[in-house]
Symmetry: D2
Subunit: 363 residues, 4 copies
């Protein structure tokens, strides 16, 4: 019988290693995905460092993943009601088991806060089966939302990867009007996607602050009108740099996509009065930061909006955007480095130190 | 010639003193108000301590004020186009000179952040004339928005006073749905108004936390379903008290109306995931406070909304609410102490130490 | 073996008749409800006349229903995750099988337009089993959302019945601000609920237009500040009646709850410029009506909002409201007539001719 | 003394004629604009046919206009507070005298419905002075909002002209999300601008229906992904054409920009369930049209939004968009025909019969 191979994080701070697993028996409504591409993202770096709560190591990382259906058992359909079949090129929503039965799902309509929510490659561990994308195969459990990649290759889609639905959710929260100015703090994959999406949403001016140099170049390529290297100025000088480009007022919208607590306060200080701040970068606990509620929030009449996870609607539109000739173009220009599964550890290191803009894994 | 008398703050931390002023010559579109009632609010305490920036002492405090038109010069009309006349019982929007010409007024539509904005009794000083309500008369400058008190006496209206438009603005920002739970932090006049307004907006459960004891009783009278004395529990215990009453989740909406920076973080921690926090209490700079952007904001998918000042729409509806038999009833039950102008200093002290719930000034 | 008894509509325009059915075998996750109360609503009148498309006669009508769990098989939980047990007094969301898998459910987040949606007592027929409330028992199929009536009796809850979630949905769409004026067209159960809910949401003025006389009295009792008998004036005079009470402008919000096409145009004409119209009464096809897009819509800068069905969030809050001492009080004052199952035909007639305000069925 | 020359509509259906007027004396805060470009738009055709109410003929048409300040008297500043000076190249908001004092301006915040609102070239007649753009000079009355054309020539700005702020207002109302489909009905200047702006706002698919052939070509050039000639299919076939391109559902957003009442109903029928319809084309009264409130509105859970006029915020952003390298590009590709003042009548005829896409007037 054939085996699957996966790159596994045995425990926090342990080297990633290749392991073999038997291919799963499929239950009704399940499928087996042969992975074409997965990715290495900032969350994977945090997973490797043990910074997320509730992760069941050993873990097969890799949440957003695309490939080809190797087997389908029973009735599995996409949102259009069209049956999915062997050979279809697909991706799937990494979020699984939001229950659609609890108060958060049904009354608050905030499924990203559903207590039953599980995420492939993050809160499903190797003990749950082949539930991560750093593998030759992924076991698509019943209820997984699968979607065809009609106009994008798996590689095209992974160029955006998890940053694309995350960025779309952030832009939904930002409510950009045509002609506004948007500042993006952080130019990792999420920040880069937010740059391209802010532009797609009609921003007349997209500013970005981050580093290192290779990402600064990528930020320009994604459509930022001006990019400031984070390291060359103090926080106050950076805020001044923003004000100089926004009529002295600050940006209409600031999207924080850094992971650094201090950036949330910077975001508030770089936003204009009565503007909007979307916080999409604080996915792990890096501790506290001090702010001034009078000067930074109330007197500014600011809207500060947390943005946690994404749901199927964001994922669906991410697939649309990736496959769209015009809207998807920025991601296709991203500098990418591809790694084999056996080199997943190197990929992690390259993402951690920022030496690659985007790292893809190819089994 | 007759004189006006006013209670004046000569400078921060100086005793309030009575002074005489000549009655003003009215220019076209101006009016003279004979004051029936003004109030002493928390902002006046801050003014007395010199905690607000840009205040031109000596100052005649008293921003929200009601009385009788003693004289009108030229064409002065209300929003319905009806001319205002001598003898009309009126109040006026304390905010003046929002320019309706600048980027904030016209493009951002955020008139409370208009740089030209002036406030009677706060940023107009005695040098500007009789521009505060702690006086026998107020000089209503051209462009002041004056409104008749059709169904409320001046005293009725001042029972809400400045807390009523402020509270209405906070409730607009809160977007309460029928059946939701609302927690109000702080039970000074603004908090008390927010309690009554949250109930008016359809909240099924209104919780409040604050002190001292006389205000706890007032909070219940205003419609809070449960009130917790701030002093009897730790912050963590208070958050637990809220969760016990909200299905373990926290309140759908938290309105911060305390003035204490720490309360903003408490507000975030007492809100349910994907809930809303309105910050309406941070009117002066009391320094910084630390929060955890991951746990308190992003992971909670929270909306945190600053709420600065109020505009004519809030003021107009405040007059409507105060004069409304059903909606205005809570304020008419508030325990009030009246002071004469000569006792304004005592009134300030009584507000500062919380010994009165609401202090009115009557010339 | 015990039998269930149900009042059945054999076909459109046929007399309702009692029929016996075997009690169902329960599958896993299913339950059997012993009905305490169901209701006869306007939709039932339309069903009896064959005016709804896609109804599988013979039909056991009765969509919103409450009672006692006679049997539960397997794991059935409420939204709080608490298991439901025999003897629990409950109601259930009449909407079933919104799939949470299709484009409307997942991308548009408009579950009331899910093509798979089924409604107990309307699109489930007798051939589907005991799936209507005009019966001694209802078969609660797997996936049915069941909720305990903690603070309301079944009778209390049915006083609002289907009009309560419908009205809550309409009020969500209406976005009433404290102090606004709301006009409700139609004073059947949905209109009556909208009156009470508009008041609960903070309206300072609630106007209503409808008939006949017994409902006019009920509209006042539910909280309308003024009620106009539909029959005593022309449409133009009615619009004038509204303007006289709203400063000449029309109502800030108009909620159409009549079922008559012409009322939709009336609603637009009775709304103030830049106001909101919610259309919640057009549940069956009564043909076309003419309007003037320039005068009635574009020049008025109006928002006209269709409001179709309701989802679990509305139903959940309906249960909360019904069981709430203050918010639920209006419905407890409604004049109600109770009918036995055998008299369901009489109940239908009494609802059809408006001789009862609210008709309950009690097995 | 120098004279101004203007093209005047003496009365409805009378030939346009050139007339001379003395140059005005400027009062404080006023300016004289030497016109570089004005335009002939659909409203001008309606004005010529006498289809608008309240127009004080004889009329100097031309509402949106750009040129050079020939004289400035006293203190005239832009929204940034920068004084305007002779020689500045500017445009101005054609809407004047929204009072910022009435209930609509101050409470409803709906300045486009202010009863005092006047529009240059439409509700200011020749008797009011040089208050239309079909002239060598325009008299900019005190209170007129003037804005510099920093990055656009007067000709560039007039390529969008009045359709640009109108379209921006429509897109604000439409709330397009990245990836949505937008159908534009009508491909005159407003429709063409809506096409380009829908694309700018992130639509993944922009469809358009209209005519004649020269405009069909322009619609493609402005960014429509597919354009249907209105004349080749029936209304039902056109709706089918839309559904075929939108997964069988209809468009997420439909923007009606035709002026034909029937198109409003078409718009509702071409929108998907739970979608949005913006009505921006019904600027004159062309009578009634029949629709089905059940099928077209309520059952579809549709939002139908009137969109009347525009305010300074839309105008300000229009200037930004026109002068923006990327966002303004579509308009710079529009086929334009320029006319001299003496040929204004020919320009009107060419606009009326659709033989030009865009007609500019150049004194």
């Amino acid at each position: 019988m054939r085996k699957a191979v996966a790159a596994v994080m045995p425990a926090p701070d342990q080297p990633v290693e290749l392991r073999e697993y038997p291919l799963p028996e499929l239950a009704d409504g399940e499928a087996l995905l042969r992975v074409d591409y997965s990715e290495v993202c900032g969350t994977d770096v945090h997973l490797h460092r043990g910074r997320l709560a509730g992760v069941p190591y050993p873990l097969i990382p890799g949440h957003v993943t695309a490939g080809t259906l190797a087997a389908v058992r029973g009735d599995l359909r996409d949102v259009y009601g069209v049956p999915l079949r062997e050979g279809d090129v697909v991706t799937f929503l990494d979020v699984h088991r939001t229950c659609h039965q609890c108060w958060y799902c049904l009354v608050a309509k905030a499924s990203t806060r559903c207590p039953s929510r599980k995420v492939y490659g993050i809160t499903y561990g190797a003990a749950d089966g082949l539930c991560g994308g750093w593998a030759s195969h992924v076991h698509l459990l019943a209820g997984t939302r699968v979607i065809r990649l009609e106009n994008a290759t798996p590689r095209d889609f992974l160029l955006g990867g998890c940053s694309l639905p995350t960025g779309l959710h952030a832009l939904d929260r930002a409510q950009v009007q045509i002609g506004e100015s948007v500042l993006v703090l952080g130019i990792g994959p999420v920040g880069l996607s937010c740059i391209a999406l802010a532009r797609a949403a009609g921003a007349a001016l997209v500013l970005a602050i981050g580093g290192p140099a290779n990402r600064v170049a990528a930020a320009s390529a994604m459509g930022a009108d001006a990019v400031l290297d984070l390291t060359v100025m103090s926080a106050d000088q950076r805020a001044e740099w923003v004000r100089e480009r926004t009529g002295g007022r600050g940006a209409d919208v600031v999207i924080e996509a850094t992971g650094v607590p201090d950036a949330v306060v910077q975001a508030m200080r770089c936003a204009r009065d009565a503007g909007r701040v979307v916080v999409v970068g604080q996915y792990t606990d890096h501790g506290e930061v001090a702010f001034n509620p009078h000067l930074d929030l109330n007197k500014k009449h600011l809207d500060v909006r947390g943005c946690w996870g994404s749901d199927y609607s964001h994922f669906h539109r991410a697939v649309q955007v990736a496959g769209h000739e015009r809207l998807g173009a920025p991601w296709r220009s991203l500098p990418v480095r591809e790694f084999r599964l056996a080199d997943a550890g190197q990929a992690l290191a390259a993402v951690a130190n920022g030496e690659v803009v985007k790292a893809l894994l190819r089994p």
